[in-house]
């Protein structure tokens, strides 16, 4: 063996992770300038009175048809007010999600109207218990970082308050940070009050948010009053807002992907300006679902390659602007957990992780987000593990080049019993549900398909995992807020 010397290698470059890039800086610039043109020339349309007043009192031009056109200087000033980071922390303070450039977190989806019944296997309306079960699974799965409701609480006593019940079902069963959906501004206020109970006050929540609020919006370049209500309330209270415009290529957005990027960015920048006018400095994540049409022409496909390409490109644009990002991943148009569900989930998880999207939501959603699947949550957890393994890239050092080991073992030798193998094999991805056994072992254990193995794993987690309980006094205080809303909103 050669003696170690003091020689040094100079001018070395190394990638810490696998590299992934769709757009160049020049292309992003073109898209950005086009989006600024859109805001100056055609603008966006809103009807929310407070928002219109905020714009009227600014340098923006508000026309009689509620169209708001914004000069570039206002946009760039507002961009400077967006915080570069925020941290969501779960209820016991032990699990958090860092929202900052190139940090990636995965989480479930929200508000699916249907689930598959664990006993009968039939598709039925989602309930409080289903949201609880999903939250428990998310609490358990190691690669999911935040929790959304998965299903909708369709059995709430008042159909206008299901969002508060969803919050309770999640917070009771999951110690990870939450991302919540609200019916309207009042719903968000109640959820925020419940979170402030846990955090110990409004200022404490602002410093250390327990949840982000997921706000969906329509295209092209218009927002409903409920959307704006939620945005303005979140901005006032420092609740990180995940602004999610949804557009269908060729229907509510141009059919060309670059055109969708321009429209989505213009929409996002409009929101950045609105929030800044309300109160500068509240955390904002920008995302959206921009995809080709699914069967029903106005709904976007959740599994199309165009969606994944657009999502990753939007993340690159937001990173370039110093903004935080979110996208949909681990969701599918398939009606059950099948080959289509798996392949579409892999594509979206791979693209979004590689792009460095901050919040990747919608894990576990089937049927374009209409049906929630616990089995899909478990499947995607394993997919995320594999994709993360690729994302880690390759470290090239003297230790990993293994030159000494290669010499020692020599031609025809074996590495299996070598200490180097023992030291490094733990770096490999190890599957839990994916099967790599030989045919005999596989057939002896019942010739089970991937799906056959997923369902028992869901049952096992539901039976064996007990999330850290939430203080019963706090639960009672939260229930008071919910009861009040249940009566008021009838």
């Amino acid at each position: 063996m050669l003696e170690k010397t003091m020689l040094i290698k100079m001018n070395q470059q190394a990638y810490g992770t696998t590299r992934f890039q769709i757009l160049t800086g020049d292309q992003i610039e073109q898209i950005y300038f086009a989006a600024l043109d859109v805001l100056e020339i055609s603008g966006a349309r809103i009807s929310h009175p407070e928002a219109l007043e905020l714009f009227t009192n600014s340098d923006a031009v508000v026309s009689e048809d509620n169209r708001v056109r914004i000069p570039t200087a206002m946009v760039e000033q507002a961009l400077g007010s967006c915080p570069s980071k925020s941290t969501l922390t779960g209820r016991n303070g032990k699990r958090s999600v860092k929202l900052q450039k190139n940090e990636v977190a995965f989480g479930s989806g929200a508000d699916a109207g249907f689930v598959y019944d664990r006993k009968s296997g039939e598709r039925r309306e989602s309930s409080f218990a289903d949201v609880e079960a999903a939250a428990k699974i998310v609490d358990y799965l190691p690669r999911l970082d935040f929790c959304m409701s998965h299903g909708r609480v369709s059995n709430a006593p008042n159909p206008k308050t299901y969002d508060r019940h969803q919050f309770l079902a999640m917070i009771k069963n999951c110690t990870k940070p939450l991302v919540v959906t609200s019916i309207d501004g009042d719903g968000l206020r109640d959820q925020w009050e419940m979170a402030c109970l846990l955090r110990g006050g409004e200022k404490e929540f602002r410093l250390n948010p327990l949840f982000a609020t997921f706000i969906r919006s329509d295209s092209p370049l218009m927002s409903s009053n409920d959307t704006v209500d939620k945005l303005l309330f979140a901005t006032e209270k420092g609740i990180p807002a995940v602004y999610t415009p949804c557009a269908v290529l060729g229907v509510t957005a141009p059919a060309s992907i670059a055109g969708v990027l321009v429209q989505t960015l213009a929409d996002a920048l409009f929101t950045v300006v609105l929030c800044c006018l309300k109160k500068p400095g509240s955390p904002l994540l920008l995302g959206g679902i921009q995809s080709v049409m699914a069967q029903a022409k106005e709904t976007p496909s959740y599994g199309s390659p165009e969606l994944h390409l657009t999502s990753a490109a939007m993340t690159e644009i937001y990173k370039w602007l110093g903004l935080l990002s979110s996208s949909a991943g681990g969701c599918t148009d398939a009606k059950v957990v099948d080959e289509q569900a798996a392949s579409e989930s892999v594509m979206s998880i791979y693209n979004n992780l590689m792009a460095g999207t901050n919040l990747i939501h919608q894990i576990g959603c089937l049927d374009g987000g209409l049906t929630g699947s616990l089995a899909s949550l478990v499947m995607c957890d394993e997919i995320i593990g594999m994709v993360k393994q690729i994302a880690k890239g390759i470290q090239v050092t003297d230790e990993t080049l293994a030159l000494d080991i290669l010499k020692e073992v020599g031609p025809g030798g074996e590495f299996l019993s070598h200490d180097h193998t023992y030291d490094h094999w733990k770096e490999w991805f190890r599957p839990t549900i994916i099967d790599r056994s030989n045919y005999e072992v596989w057939s002896d254990s019942g010739s089970k398909t991937y799906n056959d193995r997923l369902e028992p794993e869901v049952d096992r987690i539901l039976e064996s995992h007990a999330p850290e309980p939430l203080d019963e006094n706090i639960v009672q205080e939260m229930k008071k807020i919910i009861n009040l809303a249940d009566k008021k909103e009838v």
Partner: protein, 212 residues
């Protein structure tokens, strides 16, 4: 006594080669019998390792590290065990058939058997039927294992079994086969006693054949 042996099993499961060797010496100094060290320390640890391997909780490189622990301790214990006349679980002759140079799987099986307390005679690779027959006779083996990784060398397994029959040794030895292309069906066809699909299950199958 149990303090040493419990620690020894734990260190073995954790793959700490030097620690297991040290503990073996310390136990002997403290007058723990070599039989107890083997059975209640080392083999107790290896049994846990075998179970965890089967349940996918441990992976081959870890199991091999545990086998190394066992091997290190056995270097010290073997002469003492021979002196006191402690019997091994059995004598296992193993090798790769004629024309086949693949031995990683075969080595693994050998190590696992050693870990289970067997005396293992590993003949190596590319072995003619006559070499196997001679070794079974010489070592008075009660268990014999063959492996093949190539479909082209599989027929050599049947030829070897015939040679064992002709030498009049078939009744004294149980025969197991393994290797990627081999199946349980094939084992029956050529008159072997069993097929095992991996190193951990090979030990269980071998013990079963011998009624241990």
């Amino acid at each position: 006594m149990s303090e040493f042996l419990g620690k020894m099993a734990e260190s073995l499961i954790a793959g700490k080669v030097d620690e297991v060797t040290d503990l073996t010496r310390q136990a002997l100094d403290a007058n723990v019998s070599s039989k107890d060290i083997l059975e209640k320390g080392l083999l107790a640890g290896m049994e846990v390792v075998g179970k965890r391997f089967k349940a996918n909780e441990m992976f081959i490189p870890e199991v091999l590290r545990c086998a190394k622990c066992m091997h290190g301790a056995m270097e010290i214990l073997r002469p003492l065990l021979a002196e006191t006349g402690v019997e091994t679980a059995g004598t296992f002759v193993i090798g790769t058939v004629k024309g086949d140079l693949h031995d990683i799987g075969k080595n693994l099986v050998g190590m696992m058997f050693e870990g289970a307390g067997f005396k293992v005679v590993d003949l190596g690779i590319d072995l003619a039927p006559a070499a196997f027959v001679a070794a079974i006779k010489e070592h008075n083996a009660n268990l014999f294992g063959m492996s093949a990784l190539l479909t082209t060398t599989m027929p050599k397994m049947g030829e070897t079994i015939n040679a064992i029959k002709e030498a009049g040794l078939r009744d004294q030895v149980k025969i197991m086969i393994g290797g990627a292309p081999v199946t349980g069906e094939f084992a029956k066809e050529i008159g072997a006693d069993a097929y095992a699909s991996n190193a951990a299950s090979a030990v269980d199958t071998g013990k079963e054949l011998l009624g241990l």
